[in-house]
Each structure stands twice: as C-alpha cells, then as structure tokens.
C-alpha cells in the first residue's frame, strides 16, 4: 500500500497527489511514468511522474478525471492508500544541451512536460514554453512553467486566459519567424494536439518528440496492448517509449485504438457512480 501524503485540486477535474513511493523515487527521471492500481477491483492505469523527490521518497502525479479510474482516484484523500504503484517505467527523456528548444503542454499534458522542461533548462537549453488548455479553469502550473522557461506563451481555446487559440498558433509563428534555430520540440497532450504539432513542425524539419498515451495494462512489455504503428512497424509504447518521433506516428490508428473501449468505459462510470451513491447513502444512514 502506498500512502497519499498530499492532495491539491488544480481545477474541477484535475488533481495532484504526492504519494509515498521510495522505490520509484530513487531512480525516477523526467519522461518516465508509473502504473497505478487503486484497489483490488481496479484496473491498472498509466500516469506520468509529474515530479519526484528522491530524498523524501515521494512521487507526484497529476491526473484529469476522464473516466471511472481517474474519478475514483480523485475521491481519495490524504491518509488513504493505493494498492499498487509500479515504476519508474519507460525510457527517460534524452536530456542534453540542444540549443533552443520548445516545450509544449496541452491540458493535463502540462504535468508531464514540466519535469522535462525543467531538466532541459538545467542542461543549459534556451527554453520556449507553450502551454494551453480549453479554458482558464483547466490551466495549472503556469507559474512553475514560467520559472523554468526563458519565454512562455499561454493559450486557451475560449480566450478566457492568455491568447485565444491553439498551441499550434504560437508554434507556427515562432517557426516561421526563423529568428533562431529551433533544435527540438517536445509536445505532450491529447493525441489530436500532438498530431497537429507534428504536422506543423514537419515542413520545417524540426525534430518533434511526443509522449504517447495509449491504453496500457502491465506497462512492462508483456501484453502488447499499448502498441503503436510507426513508419518502421509496430512498437510498444510502455517499453520502447513513451516518447517517439512525432513525424513517424500513425495518428489515425493511434486515435482509433484509444477509443476502442469507449462503450465499456461509459458502463464502468455508470456502474461506479451507482455503487458510490449507494455507499454514500449507507454511510450517511450509519452516521445518524
């Protein structure tokens, strides 16, 4: 069992937790992820290491409540525990001094892009960050990102904060301005965002690294459920990635695989809400 030491509500549907996990914290690096299993009945879900403290033996995760598992996780509180927590999994980001780099985070993707941005900055890169969310209340860690960036652009889809528009707008302008050579771009967010970032950088031949969020089970190369089609054939995201060259990814296949379990996911949420409602009532009745 792994204890939740801290919980922050970053927005209505985005939560942060600091979890006691010395075994993961010891070797965690930017770009790696964990597998979380809440309790006996739960599924195994991948969540990125948003931050780590090897001295304190803790891992920070940030998640968006999109379905049953993440909603359930969101109901846990400080002092509660999760049953399983494995990691650090996947290859770490290759951190070097490349020159000028762009780091892009969309939505909950801001969480995983942060440690990468910080590491790139520490390695001596000039870092331009672009972060975005659908609206102001879904945006978090702007201050933290600002602190590790030389230049930052903030967008929202609805214009409620920063610039109105998509992450690809400032990206395109920077690339077109050709003020300086952009050595590499990192983009993490919804598949659709990573796809369009890759399409934007392609004509400029700027190497673009994306972190893929396929459906996973074990996270160790055992099931192949996480496989993705690249130019050179199928790869397992959990062991060969999670970072890949965005120009080589077959995005349509990736997005179709991501939506394969939609009906079951809906069913799981309904079932869980019903069950939770019943439990809450019982607790309320017991309290009287």
């Amino acid at each position: 069992m792994y204890k939740i030491l801290e919980k922050q509500v970053l927005s209505d549907v985005i939560k942060l937790m600091v979890i006691e996990a010395p075994h993961i914290a010891q070797r965690a690096k930017a770009g790696q992820f964990t597998i979380v299993r809440i309790d006996e009945q739960a599924e195994r879900i991948p969540l990125t290491i948003a931050d780590y403290d090897s001295k304190a033996g803790t891992i920070t995760i940030i998640f968006q409540e999109v379905g049953q598992s993440t909603m359930h996780l969101g109901t846990l509180n400080v002092g509660d525990s999760i049953a399983s927590f494995a990691g650090p999994l996947g290859h770490p980001t290759e951190i070097e001094n490349y020159g000028t780099v762009i780091c892009m985070g969309g939505g909950v993707g801001i969480a995983p892009i942060y440690p990468i941005t910080r590491a790139l900055k520490q390695a001596g890169n000039k870092v331009i960050s672009i972060i975005a969310a659908r609206s102001k209340d879904l945006l978090f860690w702007e201050d933290k990102m600002r602190a590790v960036s030389d230049e930052i652009h903030v967008c929202t889809d609805d214009g409620s904060h920063g610039r109105k528009g998509l992450v690809t707008d400032p990206l395109k302008e920077i690339l077109e301005a050709k003020k300086e050579n952009i050595a590499k771009v990192w983009a993490i967010g919804p598949a659709i965002m990573m796809k369009f970032v890759s399409l934007t950088t392609k004509p400029f031949n700027v190497p673009t690294i994306v972190s893929l969020n396929t459906i996973m089970i074990d996270g160790t190369g055992m099931c192949g459920g996480c496989r993705v089609l690249l130019d050179e054939g199928a790869k397992f995201v959990c062991v060969d990635g999670p970072e890949f060259d965005g120009h080589k990814v077959d995005w349509n296949s990736l997005m179709s695989r991501l939506s394969y379990y939609r009906e079951e996911e809906k069913m799981a949420v309904e079932h869980w809400k019903e069950h939770k409602c019943k439990l809450d009532k019982e607790i309320a009745a017991g309290g009287k």
Binding site: H23, I24, Q26, R27, I35, R37, Q41, A42, E43, R44, Q68, S69, A83, S84, F85, A86, G87, P88, L89, I217, D218, T220, G221, M222, C223, G224, G225, R227, V228, L229, A234, V239, D250, N252, S253, S256, R257, Y260, Y261, E264, E265, M267, A268, H271, W272
Partner: protein, 482 residues
Amino acid sequence: MAKLEPKERMKIPRQPMPEQDPKIRNANFEEVALGYDEATARKEAERCLQCKKPGCTVGCPVGVRIPEFILAVREGNLPKAVEEMKVKNNLPAICGRVCPQEVQCEGKCILTKKGKSVAIGRLERFVGDYELAHRTCPLTAAPATGKKIAVVGTGPAGLTCAVDLAREGHKVTMFESLHGPGGVLVYGIPEFRLPKKVVFGEIDYAVECLGIQVRNDHVIGRTISLNELLEQYDAVFLGTGAGLPSFMRIPGINLNGVMSANEFLTRVNLMKGYLFPNYSTPVKLGKKVAVVGGGNVAMDSARCSKRMQAVQAKQTGTEPGEVHIIYRRSKEEVPARAEEFHHAIEEGIICDLLTNPVEIIGDETGKVSKIRCIRMELGEPDASGRRKPVPIPGSELEMEMDTVIMALGTSPNPIVFVDADGLERTKHGTAVADVETGRTKKQRVWAGGDVVTGAATVISAMGAGKRAAADMHKFLKGEAPW
C-alpha cells in the same frame, strides 16, 4: 481392500475424473475438473503395479517418488503420501492440474502399453488438495545463515527456488513486477483450469512459514537493476519467464480487435475482467473470435473466449457467438496438453486445422472484419522433427471475424537485462545458464525456467528452480565456489 494380484489390478478401469458438463461449464469460470474423492483415489491407486524399476519417476522432470506416494494413498495414509510427494515437489496441487502427464510420468507408465496408464496426475492433485486443506506437512526453516538472496520473478521457477533456499535458513526476498506473485499461474492459466485460491494458498503458506518477503511492483531493470541487487544481496536468481508476446508479421495486426493472448488472458485472469464492471478492467470480445495457434496458450484463449461470450451474451440478452482455433499443422501436432484440446472441442470450439492467416482485414473504422487464410499441407519433417506445414497455392479463403487473438509463443522480456553487463544471452533472447546448476555467465547470478528455456512447462521451471537453489546453497556455504 484385500491385497490384489497384478492381474486383478489390471482389471480395475482407470477412474474417470468428475467434470462439469461441457454445455454448462462453457458459460462459467469455475473449475472444470472436480477432483477425486478419497474412495475413487484409493481405487485408482490400486491400479499401480509398484514396478521395481518405475518408468513414471524417470518420466517426471523432477523425479517425484510416484510409486511411493501412490502406495501411501492406497493404504489411506494421506499425510505419508504428502510427505513422499514433497521430497521432490512442493506444489502438487498445481502440477497435478497442469502438467502434460501424457508425455511425462503417465507416458512412461507400464500400463500405457497395456491400455490405460495409472491416472498419476489426478492422484497427485488429490494429494495436493489434501495438503492444502489439512497442512500435515509444515514447511520449516533451518537456523538463519545470515545470507541474503534476491529471487526475481514469482512464477513456478522463482517460487520453488525461494522456498528451497528459505528452508536452508537463508533470508529470501522475491521481486515481482506485477501487483501480485504467481507468474503465468496467475496471469495466464485461467481460473477454470487452476483456481487462484490454489495458487495463493500455496504462496501464502510458504511466505508465512518461511518468512519470505515479497516485493510487488518492482520491475527489475527499471525500479532497481540487477547490478544494484548484487550490491545488496549475496546471490540472485532470475526466474523472469518468457512474457514477451509475438505478433505475426502480416498486414492488419494493429487493427482494433487484434490482441495478443497475453493481453486477453491478463485482462480476463489477472485483472478478473470476467467480473466487469464489478472489476474495472474491460474485455472486448466480438461474436466471431479467431485464436491463432495450437498450444496451451491458444486453448486457454479459446476457452476463455467461449466463456466471455457467454457472460456477455447473458448481460446483453444476445446469442453467444463462435470461437475458432486456427492452427497451421494437423491435430497430431497440436502441442497443447491432450486434455485441454479435448476439453476445447467438447466445449464447442471450432478447429480450422492446416490453416494459416495471411492478412487481417479491417472495416472503415479500423476494426477487424475478416481474416484471410491459406490452407496448408504437411511436408518433410523440420529441425524439430515435426512435419513442416507448406501453403497450398491458390487455396486462400476469407472468414468473417471481429476479434483475432494471437497465441504464437513468447520470448523473455529483455527489461531485466538492463544494467546487467556480463549476463550472456542466446540469439533467441534467453539467458545462458548451466542446465545442472543454473549458473549464468555473470558471477553470483543464477537463472532458470522459461527465461532460460523459452516457453516450456510449469514442472520444468520448478525443476530448474530446485537445481539452482541446491547449487546456490552450496555456493553460499562455500562448498562450490564460482
């Protein structure tokens, strides 16, 4: 029973195993074979001729004292039967259920030639179940030696090695990448063949009696590396199995609805997907399922599919659908345990033998809709001695399918070899280790089970774990330096 003459013994028929009816069991996940009761077991035990030179023991990869334990069953002395069994095999309730007896002990039984062998596997299971229920043969540890051992992987190889070393008084810690121990016994072999309470019963008992530590969620090579383990432990055993799935190199393998047997079985067994939505991991299965392969993994996938279809048909009020096994050789070459193949047919699984997929075809949404296959015929024997299947030109055919499960064999997962310099591997990715001692090319590291042999059997993995434990113990005592 009075003492019988061999002739009279040979007249007793082989006692059938009580089983769930095929038409009922193909819709539930409960155990198929129900086990002998004591009277039936004793009757079956009467059939053993107590050969002076028992072939069965030679046929057993770990040399279980078969005539001795059967004699004890016959005499009704079950604690003694357990004791005889445990000299060589700590996990009889498991082996009795899953060993391919027909090519091992029972294949060498003198009665095989004269009709039907003694049902050694069923008797073994009977004895194992007795021990699970009564615990007459406690595991005890010798005084502590102060030596620390890391066992990586908690399948049959790792478990056997850990138990034997802990009994010698060494402090054993097991590392497992998944959220619980057991390896293939838990994530691969389904509940209806090997109930998880049997596996957990054995593991919990050993852990409790011997003070073995189990660290789940530890992926060696990621969480901590082999080289780091060697800094903290006196010796390391690798029993990480062969868990890496392979996919056919044919068009369409990335379509929705194509999955590895490992993914399917893990969803169903380890994650208990058959209890969705009470358990959160979904299993998506269509009405027309093709399982490609002919081994135990293929049989388990097909039989789980059949059951999942029944569960889902009940939930949705529809008809269950069909399950096909597509195998490129003929019935004679099917590598699965004879009993599993027989059970699969009984349960209504359709076999397309001498057939090989060449393409998986998808619909406009990227989902499987058909599988294109070619018929095969058997040619000259290949390196393995089996006749090689060759395609018959012009025999291509298409079958409508919505799910394709690939059960094509597995190889060792390479993660454990990260930061493990000096640990030699073959070109198949298996660890190089001495057959007798389990010693690898890296000092203080032993290995055994599927990680060395490639996908094999539970009993061969246990045998390797046992031999390695014996050599590790000698090494730790200073009797067998590296």
